[in-house]
């Protein structure tokens, strides 16, 4: 069997192209059939390829498909090349699988939307771009996908463009991502300058070999690898919504819910994690960069978990939860535990997509509203949704057996066990590990709060809504159930070695060739972390039950009244958006406006350009005064000018300079150039009044008989005017 990998991204891309061009003329059925078929086929091909090549993938660099040269110039060559190894293959499967499910879900969720074809076209385009990102084996090719998914995210967030807020949220997402992309670009340039290539395998080999081109010091005592890793991480921070660029993701919830599930939970936002894992060898060269990755991840995990506690919008809670979980993944890859990070990415794709689909199902039932203060007691009306939510919720809380438990523990245990930071930064691992445990507590709490407020207790919605509560259609429930099963079972691929000796940490083994050997964690540490995190998860759930079980309870109210400022700060998301607006957007825009008004309009256009105009204009005005319109005055000027001209042309000639050269006792006098012709010269060398030489020659020699002072006289006569001039010089003869 022979596949070309290019088929995988091409299928959804072709689907998108077809739908964009002709989708409007097709029925809804045709549209979603085409769309689902395109991405479903991509999944089948990817799965087939993955399992067919599985032995090769896990033991080598995988399979490549060279489409051709994208562009080449000078020493830069960028090939359009795709590669499936264990890592990209796994991602490919996740993306196409979740993508397919969400396409199916969308046929139900978007069933009544006017712009059906456009939605599926974007969704297909997204899948194609994401698969290109995953499979791309050269950083610029990855960058096509990278920006391509950003574009789709922009389009889908602003899908309901009629609301300015939606469109603005899309724009914000794109621009924030672009800030990160700037870092990605600079990272690429740095790598290219150092390693001379942008092909990922070559870069990884160079990094694994510890090539001096990457370890050479660049700026501020840090090696090239550090700066390249840091700038690339800036890209990851943008795409994966980490501090300080996470602000776009909560706003991105303005898009349709399937989009939030696919793009803003399961796939696109994990691209940053994927990229760091892919270039893991580079990061390992720069422990400081890894520490930054881990630190940012832990900080984000914690901050987002805290903010999620105070949100009252179903999807906003999930959005902050996603940010927080992405922080977990970054801690994973940032502690050199690449397989752990990817494992969490894998399980997260299931349970977070499942949670979002539940959100969609709930909001569908609630007539589009996501306000959890208006929900409650939905478990009876939406049984399937509730069950899926329970499974996925327990998974994210990290309750044993569920997938999230294993992946989260793999990361936390890795953080405590890792040695990648070296002696100077050894404290980073345990610190971020502790941070994650705190975040895990928050996770369990906000997730359970969400569950209790939405599904338990009495329904707080208005009567009309309450009467229309209904479970979603089968095309929506089906994918949810599949994802729920995934959330339950996905953990088996990464059981801790302490639990299962033979089947422990399968992911780590598979990915060993792609991202490096799995992190060694001692058995005891594994057990300890598992026990501790189970306790934390249960504590979080218990605490949440105490506060919110069956609705907002007394302790929660008391908490709010005791710490009003803290609660309002958390509810206000610590006002980060407002701060950014005040510190970045407003000054920049004000500066631009000021520049436009002052520099462009006044300084350049008025003063520089206008200045010249005024100069020329004034000169013209002044000269105009001479033109009085009186012919006689013109004539007078003309006559004066003519007279002057005649004088200049015909005036008596003058010698320009007199040069006297003395050598010993002989002297030579030369009259400089510029003398009119036909002059008569007389030279009196000894000052006796007698001309010693005369005639038309402009120079003369004389030999003095003895040394002394002599008076030299030169006479120049112009025969035309009969004028005569005499020039005198004194000369010394030794």
């Amino acid at each position: 069997m022979f596949y070309q990998l290019r088929i995988i991204p091409l299928l959804p891309l072709l689907g998108a192209a077809y739908l964009i061009l002709f989708g409007r003329h097709h029925s809804r059925r045709a549209v979603h059939r085409i769309a689902c078929l395109a991405v479903g086929a991509a999944f089948l091909v990817a799965a087939d390829a993955f399992f067919f090549w599985f032995p090769i993938l896990v033991q080598s660099n995988g399979v490549t498909d060279l489409v051709g040269t994208w562009f080449a110039s000078g020493d830069l060559q960028v090939d359009l090349v795709l590669r499936m190894d264990a890592l990209s293959g796994l991602m490919c499967l996740v993306v196409s699988f979740v993508g397919t499910l969400i396409h199916i879900y969308s046929t139900g969720y978007m069933a009544h939307d006017e712009d059906y074809a456009r939605f599926f076209a974007y969704l297909n385009l997204f899948c194609g771009a994401m698969l290109l990102l995953v499979l791309g084996d050269s950083l610029p090719v990855m960058f096509i996908g990278w920006e391509g998914v950003g574009l789709c995210s922009y389009l889908l967030i602003g899908f309901w463009y009629g609301e300015t807020a939606n469109a603005s949220a899309g724009k914000k997402a794109f621009i924030t991502n672009r800030v990160g992309d700037l870092g990605f670009l600079i990272g690429m340039f740095l790598l290219f300058r150092a390693a001379g290539t942008l092909d990922i395998p070559l870069l990884v080999d160079t990094a694994r070999a510890g090539s001096p081109s990457l370890t050479a010091t660049l700026w501020w005592g840090q090696p090239v690898a550090f700066w390249a890793a840091l700038f690339l991480f800036m890209g990851a921070v943008g795409k994966s919504a980490q501090i300080p660029l996470y602000v776009w993701l909560p706003d991105a919830m303005a898009g349709p819910t399937p989009v939030s599930a696919l793009i803003h939970a399961a796939t696109m936002v994990t691209a940053g994690v994927y990229m760091v894992a892919r270039l893991g060898a580079l990061y390992l060269l720069a422990p400081a960069a890894l520490a930054i990755v881990a630190g940012v991840g832990a900080l984000t995990a914690l901050l987002a978990a805290v903010i999620a506690l105070g949100q009252n919008d179903f999807k906003k809670v999930l959005a902050y939860s996603t940010i927080s979980q992405l922080g977990f993944m970054f801690v994973g890859v940032g502690t050199g535990n690449f397989a752990g990070g990817i494992f969490h990415l894998f399980t997260h794709a299931f349970f977070k997509a499942g949670l979002f689909l539940c959100a969609g199902s709930v909001m569908h039932a609630m007539a589009g509203s996501g306000d959890i203060t208006r929900m409650g007691g939905l478990a009876r009306k939406l049984p399937w949704t509730t069950w899926v939510f329970r499974v996925c919720g327990l998974a994210i809380c990290g309750v044993p057996i569920f997938s999230g438990f294993f992946s989260k523990d793999a990361i936390v245990a890795g953080a405590f066990a890792t040695a990648v930071f070296g002696p100077r930064l050894h404290w980073v691992g345990p610190t971020v590990g502790a941070g994650l445990l705190a975040a895990a507590l928050g996770t369990a709490f906000y997730m359970s709060r969400l569950y209790y407020l939405v599904f338990t207790g009495e329904c707080r919605a208005d009567l009309n809504t309450r009467e229309h509560l209904h479970e979603s259609s089968v095309e929506m429930v089906g994918p949810m159930v599949v994802l729920g099963l995934g959330a339950l079972l996905a953990g088996v691929v990464g059981l801790p070695p302490a639990v299962s000796r033979s089947h422990g940490d399968l992911v780590g083994h598979w990915l060993a060739d792609a991202v490096g050997p799995a992190l060694e964690v001692s058995r005891g540490l594994q057990w300890r972390v598992m026990a501790f995190s189970t306790a934390i998860a249960l504590a979080g759930i218990g605490l949440a039950w105490r506060f919110f079980g069956g609705g907002v309870r007394e302790p929660a109210r008391r908490f709010v009244t005791t710490w009003p400022h803290l609660t309002s700060a958390v509810r206000g998301k610590f006002f980060v958006d407002e701060i950014y607006h005040a510190l970045v957007v407003c000054p920049l825009r004000g500066l631009s406006r000021a520049f436009f008004l002052v520099v462009d309009r006044i300084l350049i256009d008025k003063l520089l350009v206008g200045g010249w105009t005024v100069l020329v204009d004034t000169a013209g005005r002044l000269l105009r005064m001479l033109q009085v319109g009186d012919v006689q005055r013109y004539l007078a000027i003309f006559a004066i000018g003519l007279a002057a001209l005649v004088y200049v042309m015909a005036r008596p000639a003058e010698p320009s300079e007199v040069k006297v050269r003395i050598e010993g006792r002989s002297a030579r006098v030369e009259l400089g150039e510029g003398v009119a012709e036909k002059l008569d010269y007389g030279f009196d060398f000894d000052g006796d009044g007698q001309e010693d030489r005369s005639g038309a020659a402009a120079s003369a020699n004389w030999l003095y008989p003895q040394p002394g002072h002599y008076q030299l006289r030169v006479r120049i006569t112009d025969p035309r005017w009969n004028t005569s001039r005499t020039i005198e010089r004194t000369i010394d003869i030794q």
Partner: protein, 544 residues
């Protein structure tokens, strides 16, 4: 084999035919479109016959014009001009095809079409001429029709804009003329023959001082055309007042002459001066990139916004060229083409908006995606291409320019000449890369305010606000396709520019080395009086 003389002649003949046709659009527009189509076909033939392995000029025709003064109609095409010629013929064709080309003044269309064709002839001649006299004649020939296009078919302040455009451009080109005349005499002094031949001119080395002055004269002419900050203020005015067709051609082709002239003339003629001033111009280019982007952000007039975005985008072209490496220059050339497609397309899109709504204020639009989805999709592709989204045409050029700038020091060391250019090329590249963010900011803001948001203004709900018509679809279809193809498969374009750029940079390096080895100036022919007395010579050899 194609005859390049015909390439220049066909639009001129077309213009004459158009003027002979009866008044009105009925017959003159088909004639104009056919003439433009024939030109396009001819440039495609040139593309077919082009041999990409040759770096020198191809398909040369050398016809004496004023032989006694050494003036020849000497035309030739190389990798640098090849695609620009194609861009020119394509954009003129699309412009004539587009129903909005004349803006709202649907009068005197015959004159407009003729002016367009004369303009095309001037542009093609300037790209193809390798005789300085012919170049200058064509260069000025472009000015006149553009003046009329802005001045007759323009908006309210059209006369102001047209005169500003002409005075700015003329100020530069007259300085260039002075330099050309000086060089003409200088070439005679060195070679003993009166000639305007490009190759001869490119082979003589000038004395240091005059070289710098001539370089500045040439550069000023080109910098105004590009335009580089702070010589750019004619551009927004010209663009805003020009009719759509004028704006399209102005942005897509005319602006390219600045960069083209720099590449074709200023670099080969004055290598040392170019190298000495490169850092200053490079910083100006980067300043323009940022400045243009910031200015674009705060515009309320769509057309002005796109005009300022041109300032930003063309900064990349200049930066790439000044890096003086294969990547940079090829990237610069590619960026010229990409900018031609994307910004030309954006101006056409603005023309459509103006045609439908008779306004260009961002605040007057909103929610237009609903009534105009096809237009919206095309507009979006062009916006994204302009923002440099990978996979569309804008990315490749920017990427090559930025990576070329970033690695400039390394490239120069590799070529054997210690990097003399910028202290921190990486810093330059990093600053220029900020345009990546800013471009997204201003372009998406524009797009959102036009296409997204509620459809709350009654004028925008007018049923007359129709989506793209057939002819418009054709025009936009070609542009969108070009943007996609250039983004996904740029290599055929880069392949055909590679050899010429390589020849250019190699020649440049040789000449630079020669100029450094001989710092006094050119070796004169015997019989000429030496510039300085022989005794003064040894002490004046300044170390470089």
């Amino acid at each position: 084999m194609t005859d390049l003389r015909l390439t220049v002649l066909v639009p001129l003949l077309g213009a004459i035919l158009v003027m002979l046709a009866p008044r009105g659009e009925r017959t003159s527009r088909p004639i104009g479109i056919v003439a433009a189509l024939v030109s396009l076909g001819q440039s495609l033939l040139i593309l077919r016959d082009f041999d990409k392995s040759i770096g020198a000029f191809q398909m040369e025709v050398d016809q004496p014009w004023v032989a006694s003064l050494g003036i020849h109609l000497h035309l030739g095409v190389d990798g640098i001009s090849l695609w620009l010629v194609l861009l020119t013929t394509l954009m003129v064709f699309l412009t004539l095809l587009s129903p909005q080309a004349m803006g709202l003044h649907q009068t005197r269309s015959r004159g407009f079409i003729a002016a367009m064709l004369v303009l095309e002839a001037g542009m093609l001649g300037s790209f193809l001429a390798i005789d300085l006299f012919a170049f200058y004649v064509f260069w000025e020939l472009m000015l006149i029709p553009m003046y009329f296009i802005i001045g007759i078919w323009g908006g309210e302040r059209r006369l102001y804009a047209a005169i500003k455009f002409v005075i700015f451009t003329l100020a530069g080109s007259l300085l260039m003329l002075a330099a050309i005349l000086y060089l003409y005499a200088q070439v005679h002094a060195v070679t003993g023959q009166w000639t305007f031949d490009y190759a001869t001119w490119a082979s003589i080395t000038l004395p240091r001082g005059p070289e710098l002055l001539c370089f500045l004269a040439f550069t000023l002419a080109f910098m105004i055309k590009v335009p580089l900050v702070p010589l750019h203020t004619w551009l927004p005015d010209a663009h805003v007042e020009a009719p759509t067709g004028g704006s399209v051609i102005l942005a897509a082709v005319l602006l390219k002459f600045g960069a083209y002239g720099f590449l074709r003339f200023a670099l080969p003629f004055f290598p040392l001066a170019a190298q000495q001033t490169a850092p200053i111009i490079a910083w100006l280019a980067v300043a323009g990139i940022i400045f243009g982007a910031l200015m674009a952000w705060v515009q309320d007039d769509v057309k002005k916004l796109v005009a300022y975005s041109s300032v930003s985008h063309l900064g990349f072209v200049v930066l790439g060229i000044l890096v003086l490496s294969q990547k940079g220059i090829q990237g610069g050339i590619f960026q010229m083409l990409a900018h031609g497609i994307s910004t030309g397309g954006l101006f056409l899109a603005v023309g459509i908006l103006y045609d439908r709504r008779h306004t260009r204020q961002l605040s007057d639009f909103g929610g237009l995606w609903k009534p105009m989805p096809v237009f919206g999709a095309c507009f979006l592709v062009l916006v994204l291409a302009s923002a440099g989204l990978p996979g569309l045409c804008g990315f490749v050029g920017e990427f090559l320019v930025l990576s070329g700038t970033f690695t400039a020091g390394k490239d120069w060391q590799a070529s054997g000449l210690a990097a003399p250019m910028f202290g921190h090329p990486a810093l330059l590249a990093g600053l220029a890369a900020f345009a990546v963010i800013l471009a997204a900011v201003y372009l998406l803001t524009m797009f959102q305010r036009v296409m997204f948001g509620p459809l709350d203004k009654p004028e925008n709900r007018d049923p007359k606000l129709r989506d793209l018509g057939l002819r418009e679809r054709l025009v936009f279809g070609v542009l969108v396709l070009a943007a996609l193809v250039m983004g996904m498969a740029p290599q055929p374009i880069l392949d055909r520019t590679a050899a010429s750029v390589q020849a250019l940079t190699a020649n440049y390096r040789d000449r630079l080395a020669e100029a450094r080895a001989n710092p006094i100036g050119p070796a004169r022919r015997s019989g000429q009086r030496p510039r300085r007395p022989a005794s003064a010579q040894p002490g004046t050899a300044r170390p470089f």
